[in-house]
């Protein structure tokens, strides 16, 4: 997945990320087990491109985002940002790089300080950027608001005065304030109304074209990811099950989990019969997490081999990786 001469195109490369959370029980809070929230995640994102990270709730998407931003300490693995290995960086070493990587959160209300005006919230980033002159900050602030499609006079108002879509625009303005080159969008549109979602998607695309941004777009909505992303990683229980270009994922999915996800999308064209879903929810067996393939208890093509052996994440085509024996044989 990585070759050194391509490194210039790669803005972010993540190798074998692992994060286990302890389960504590009893009075003494002894560790009784581990939740493998992220269990060997690898992918890379090209400069100026968008990678989609899809999966159902609890599969570890957001944990991956927090690990990349070093908001959580990782247990194992490497994070290489612009050729620089930041995985071992301390808080202090990380600080100069923080403004390079930003995040836009799902809930734009929860992520804006209700006691600060919008202007103050966005300006905070400008101060961090080291713009000391008040007028310079003011000019830049107005530019930022214009970029995200807000009127400059809205800077004196408070977050509660805005609608969800506008708040998300403010969240994006705040992320942009420190001039990042990489933005993680963590479900940025799922809390918005349908007619507003398209506005935010278009805004993200426009900003990418103007500023050459790279995105990691986290979502559970395959339609959005298919529209917006160049490459897609499908996550299940802390592991990437399949990684390929968006076209490959949709046209030529190999992993049974990817296929069941695709079958579950209610299509917006009328009367597309829902295929019988491959997942048997009730067959879910958490002991499956212990060894072998994590997906096997729900899998329609499970073989004895899936029980015993750790399935490797391997190349099955040009830029196409999957974690399934059967997929490799094809």
């Amino acid at each position: 997945m990585n070759s050194k001469n391509r490194n210039n195109h790669i803005i972010l490369c993540v190798k074998d990320l692992k994060k286990y959370f302890p389960i504590r029980r009893g009075f003494l809070q002894k560790i009784s087990g581990w939740v493998k929230a992220v269990d060997g995640v690898s992918f890379e994102i090209e400069r100026g491109k968008t990678m989609g990270l899809v999966g159902e709730s609890g599969c570890g998407k957001t944990t991956v985002a927090r690990l990349i931003l070093k908001l959580l300490a990782l247990d194992q693995g490497k994070i290489i940002y612009q050729g620089l290995d930041i995985s071992g960086f301390s808080e202090k070493e990380m600080r100069p790089h923080r403004k390079e990587m930003q995040i836009v959160f799902q809930d734009p209300f929860g992520s804006l300080n209700p006691r600060m005006t919008v202007g103050q919230s966005v300006e905070e980033g400008l101060r961090i950027l080291g713009i000391k002159s008040h007028t310079m900050r003011k000019v830049r602030l107005e530019k930022l608001m214009e970029m995200v499609g807000m009127s400059p006079d809205s800077t004196d108002r408070y977050p509660h005065e805005f609608s969800g879509g506008q708040r998300q625009r403010i969240g994006i303005a705040r992320a942009l304030s420190v001039e990042p080159s990489f933005i993680i969008c963590d479900e940025p549109i799922s809390a918005l109304d349908v007619s507003i979602q398209a506005q935010i998607i278009n805004l993200l695309k426009d900003l990418q074209d103007q500023l050459g941004l790279s995105y990691l777009f986290i979502s559970h909505d395959l339609n959005v990811v298919g529209y917006l992303c160049n490459t897609i990683a499908v996550m299940y229980m802390g592991q990437v099950m399949e990684y390929a270009s968006a076209e490959e994922i949709f046209d030529n999915p190999h992993h049974p989990y990817t296929r069941s996800l695709l079958a579950a999308i209610p299509d917006s064209g009328p009367r597309k019969k829902l295929e019988p879903t491959l997942i048997k929810e009730d067959a879910f067996d958490s002991s499956a997490a212990l060894q072998g393939c994590k997906y096997r208890s729900l899998c329609s093509i499970e073989a004895p081999r899936c029980r015993k052996e750790q399935v490797l994440f391997e190349k099955i085509g040009e830029g196409h990786f999957a974690r399934c024996w059967k997929a490799m044989k094809k």
Binding site: S195, N223, Y227, K272, L274, E281
Partner: protein
Amino acid sequence: MTQDKQPMADDNRLISVQDLKVYFRSGHACARAVDGVSFEVRKKETVCIVGESGCGKTVSALSILGLVTTPPGEIIDGRIVFAGQNLLELSEKEMQKIRGNHIAMVFQEPLTSLNPVFTIGNQISEAVRIHKKIGAESLREKCIRLLKDVGIPAPEQRLEDYPHQLSGGQRQRVMIAMALACDPDLIIADEPTTALDVTVQAQILELFGAIQKKQSMSILYITHDLGVVAAIADRVYVMYAGMIAEQGNTEQIFRNARHPYTQGLLASLPSLSKRGKRLYNIPGSVPNPAYKPAGCPFHPRCTHKAPSCSTEYPKMCDYGQGHLARCPILFQDKGHHT
């Protein structure tokens, strides 16, 4: 030209809501959440009401069951005719006989609508106990059968479980089992899959389809997700800011939308096939129900607006075969004559 004149086989009609108006007052402001809404559900039919947050879809559904909190809510006008009687004129006691028994509801968030301190079995049997005289043993059997019907494995053991011991999908199945408990004629499902993962959503939608086929009941399904609508609906009502913007069967709505709002919504849906193209987006945002624009509530966001749109409330225009849209401007453009 108005929908009231729409000829309809009366015998096939299960419930019809006529010109419903529900307002919410707080201080001097008055939010006209539902402002003259008419719709009907026929026997064995799945009807979807689709719209964005605050468009009045949930309030419409709650008024059917008499669950609008008063105050601040108030049903100002309208009729809800079910089995020959106007539900709005019934006393609370008479309403209780209908609620759960003839019309049942499935809510969006199963964890908040299930009682955490009672077992699943207890909660499912509650509805049956209230509406039917039934012995303890046959009640237990009925609960087990209901859980089996909604696809919960090992129902005998599940009866003793508490809601927190079940997954989100299973909780929603339990909610559906509760709704089915008295073999209702109509199930109102208010965004039952919004809180669920896509694969679980697909299972629940399938379950609704299977139940309907088996028990020949009607479903009024409320959602904001056009994908879900396309998958399950026979007929669709598109709501915007307290009004029905468009109604028709699934084919008419998705292939031949006649209201600018419906057209905009459909055009703004992202999908793989639209890659590289810019998504259409409806400008502006949903109006606050307390400060709705005069005339057509959609006109500030509309690309087809004419001067009359800001003054006149739009009339329902009939495109035939049950397809109606509340936009006289597009109706004239297409050269339809009334």
